[in-house]
Symmetry: C2
Subunit: 551 residues, 2 copies
């Protein structure tokens, strides 16, 4: 069962509106706010950039994600009186009440956001978000924006890796809600693993609020809750055609069980009656979409013959079974055996659709296991991944940062002795330059005031080295290019709609297809280059020198 | 700055009331619900157990946590019409409308929860939660309850490990909000890392909603946003005593800078004026709680002398500086150097409190680095940990499961061929047995109907082996014992208040102190034993046999 859903109710639901509350922030944002305000600097125009320093999981790329949640957060941003009262309780008792009035009046009507669209491939040091507005306010936004972008981009990238491994045909189901960091972690994971390339999620709320296609089967508890047919009050099922009287599905099933066991050389006494009764109950509820979970007792001696008996009983009434699921053991090997038995039975019992019944697998599947399950000879159709997509165990955080790049139009820079933590000063523009084959050559960072690069025109650029420093200049001539940062939010107004989740998902797959296979490789990929314009490179030098020389 | 807070507003805030929405569940819960309902089994009395199979991180223990969120979830559990409408859109179009009426009428008034109190040490296979009620409903609760318990217990346990490493004196600040799985992941992390033994969190919302003490300093952006004093509109500060005229703190600071640099043999020209102006601005906002972030430019040549200049200027006005923070480089080594300079200056400038100014450190601190920072000669006072507490990188999910143990009073069991995934049948009671020294000997699982074990009376028990199987019986005589599962929620009513977060935090520390040091060891600890009663052990054998023999 897998149903695409329109983005239902998203706008109607007040809980869905605010992605995070304003106080979901670090206390130091509040203490700094007070200090900015005391210094009379609250309204100074400032710009921050949100970026990461290294792509996660050793990949050459990151998928930009989380922007839709940032927009919901910014539009609803407003401190309630209770919030301000709470802040007063943690600040010094003699804090000027006018500061709290200032906080109470804050909203995002003076904030502008430029961002890379969701689903864009993003690279180190190229801003995902440029946030400009009054210094005090855009400082306050740091933590919630990081919180909304960091994990969304991480899990989308993780999902994209899993999709690359699985190839385009295997269906991938995200089912990690129970292992996520609480309710919202689960919702975020489901939303952005779909954006990254999964087909569906088990998370019903993600279906309701975000339009993610939802899918599901049944659990062992359902199977083990049955001990026999006597527990079911209903056993009659009408034929699919609507023609003819209803029949007792348990009687049909018992009769088919004998035939199945005889044909496969199994002992009917070894099959579990409770399991079969559970399958019959599920089939009665979903005659058009019957699925069996095969491993509550013994897959080959009980689950499989029971499934076949019910499937053939359904076939007799004109229905088609939908699938089976395995949740333990050697999944690949069992899928081969099951497919081979499906084929034999399809032919022997003359039920052709039986050979193509979907085989779904789950059980702590990681990249390595997925690689086996995605092998060209694999008979697995659908792969459910929970923990290993949701928790991103290879690297459970992306490490985006939010750094001040200008105040009052003057470039700022952090010049710590840890060179990797140094930042690039100034308000920037970013372009992706392409070669004649439509493949991206590099991302170019330049100052926002510079004229954009031109297609067909030679440029001198300064590639960033891995440590965030710079190396020697080079020249190149892009055949085409695109600006990476779009103005989504201007002075408090949305000025471009956020594409639907499905559109961003399609963009992600399209962008990935432009990378070379060496760049897409999951281990030791060829790095993607990011470079500075001549002018930005020069500014970097001058800000560094002026600091070394002292003020 | 670190302020303990009462649990403010928790009850008043509607958003804080429902910990999760009913649709935050896996779709298969809904499909199973329909199948149970169709079979006429929706209201059959059933019991599920929520437990884990292995303690996380290689620890011998887990801290039970998340119960308070489960209670909030259960009390508010109710499907809204829009929820039911959404479910109708993903179920077959011919689904009986009476099923949706049944869903619409669901609440937890027939649900009973027995649970281990928050902050209890919990061990493998001993239920954290026993959930009984109507089969359809308690099945539906699976995913949200797992979601609320799994991560809460994981992060509390992770925090407890970090507290064991840090020892009782170092202050631990959780600051991982920006690296959490979205807003709620951050809130959950802050709440339960406090429960696990941290002192405070940077997360303001956790302070507001959960009463977690909040703490914070300042960020590099604040420092780099200043280039000089001209940016500040206010520079005057009144003496702490209130006696005497305000003085210009920038003038005092400049004068102290000369003395500091002269005494320490530093060049005043190498100090960064913007950094100093930022410190002055912060000091003007927080004269009683001035803190300096030292590594925006150069710790030893700029951050430290600038901090000292401002601190001594404040001292002249009768204030005491609160602390410094380091966020890069060799934290331990720098803390030693800074402390030694604080001592020299305290003595030279006759400002005794200066030598005890708090040194806070952060920068991707993990267990290994924390172990160094907690060394007895370490001069570090406060340690901020973000990613490594929040994301639990050593094991990012706990793997709690939720298994059906009885229906209509009959024990159920999953008997998969994967022996580790087999479950223990029947509704159970659990006791912790203690020896004469008050140390726990083992946790005993028995059937709920059995009489409780008695102190001083010999018992025959069957220890579980690591794989979840059982081994040979043994006898023992507990000197004292306590029941582990308490009825918190009975037929829809809270029947015991959930202790405050601070009380649960204290319980966790007390429980940990009862473990032997071999059991508390973080690597290769001595395992803690869990055993079955004679009767439960016998039931296990009989359920296994009856299944092998077939129905």
């Amino acid at each position: 069962m897998e149903k695409p859903q329109p983005e239902l109710e998203q706008e109607k639901d007040p809980e869905a509106e605010a992605a995070a509350r304003p106080l979901l922030t670090d206390l130091y944002q509040i203490t700094m706010a007070l200090a900015y305000w005391r210094a009379g600097r609250a309204r100074e125009p400032a710009e921050f950039e949100l970026f990461f320093r290294r792509c996660p999981f050793g990949s050459s790329f990151t998928l930009a994600a989380g922007l839709r949640d940032c927009m919901r957060f910014l539009r609803a941003f407003r401190l309630r009186p209770a919030d301000v009262k709470y802040l007063a309780s943690v600040l010094p008792p003699d804090t000027d009440p006018a500061f709290f009035e200032h906080l109470q009046g804050l909203d995002c009507s003076a904030v502008t956001i430029r961002a890379q669209p969701e689903g864009t491939l993003a690279f180190a040091h190229v801003p995902l978000l440029c946030v400009s507005g009054p210094l005090l306010l855009v400082q306050l936004l740091e933590t919630p924006l990081l919180c909304l972008i960091n994990y969304a981009s991480l899990v989308a990238t993780n999902a994209a890796r899993l999709r690359l491994i699985a190839g385009p045909k295997k269906r991938l189901l995200e089912m990690g809600l129970r292992r996520a960091q609480g309710p919202d972690g689960g919702l975020t994971a489901s939303t952005y693993s779909y954006l990254g390339g999964f087909d569906s999620s088990s998370n019903v709320l993600a279906g309701q609020l975000r339009g993610v296609p939802v899918a599901g089967t049944l659990a062992h508890s359902f199977v083990t809750s049955f001990s026999g047919y006597a527990q079911s009050q209903v056993l009659m099922l009408a034929p699919a055609s609507g023609q003819g009287p209803p029949k007792d599905l348990s009687i049909l099933t018992e009769s088919w069980l004998g035939k199945v066991c005889e044909y496969l050389g199994l002992r009917a006494e070894e099959t579990h009656l409770g399991e079969r009764a559970a399958f019959v109950a599920y089939a009665l509820a979903f005659p058009q979409a019957f699925q069996g979970l095969l491993d509550s007792y013994s897959v080959m001696r009980s689950g499989l013959p029971n499934f076949l008996a019910v499937a053939l009983a359904l076939a007799e009434l004109g229905y088609r079974a939908a699938g089976v699921r395995l949740d333990s053991g050697d999944l690949l090997q069992q899928a081969q055996e099951i497919r081979s038995i499906f084929r034999k039975c399809a032919s022997h019992f003359q039920v052709p659709w039986l050979e193509a019944v979907s085989i779904a697998v789950s059980n702590n599947i990681d990249e390595r296991v997925l690689d086996q399950l995605a092998h060209k000879d694999s008979e697995v159709d659908l792969i459910g991944i929970g923990t290993n997509v949701v928790t991103c165990p290879l690297q459970p955080s992306l490490g985006c940062v939010y750094k001040l790049v200008s105040v009052r139009g003057q470039p700022c820079r952090k010049l710590t002795e840890d060179s990797e933590k140094q930042t690039l000063p100034g308000s920037k523009a970013a372009y992706r330059l392409y070669n004649g084959e439509g493949a991206p050559i590099l991302d170019l960072l330049q100052l926002e005031e510079e004229p954009p690069p031109q297609a067909g025109q030679e440029l001198r650029v300064w590639p960033l080295d891995v440590s965030g420093g710079d190396c020697r200049g080079q020249t190149l001539t892009p055949v085409s290019l695109e600006p990476l940062l779009r103005v989504y939010f201007h002075q408090g107004q949305m000025c471009e709609p956020i594409p639907s989740l499905a559109e961003s998902r399609a963009l992600a797959q399209k962008s990935l297809s432009c990378l070379s296979s060496a760049q897409k490789r999951l281990e030791n990929p060829e790095p993607y280059q990011v470079a500075l314009s001549e002018k930005l490179h020069a500014l970097l030098g001058s800000v560094a020198r002026s600091s070394q020389e002292g003020p």
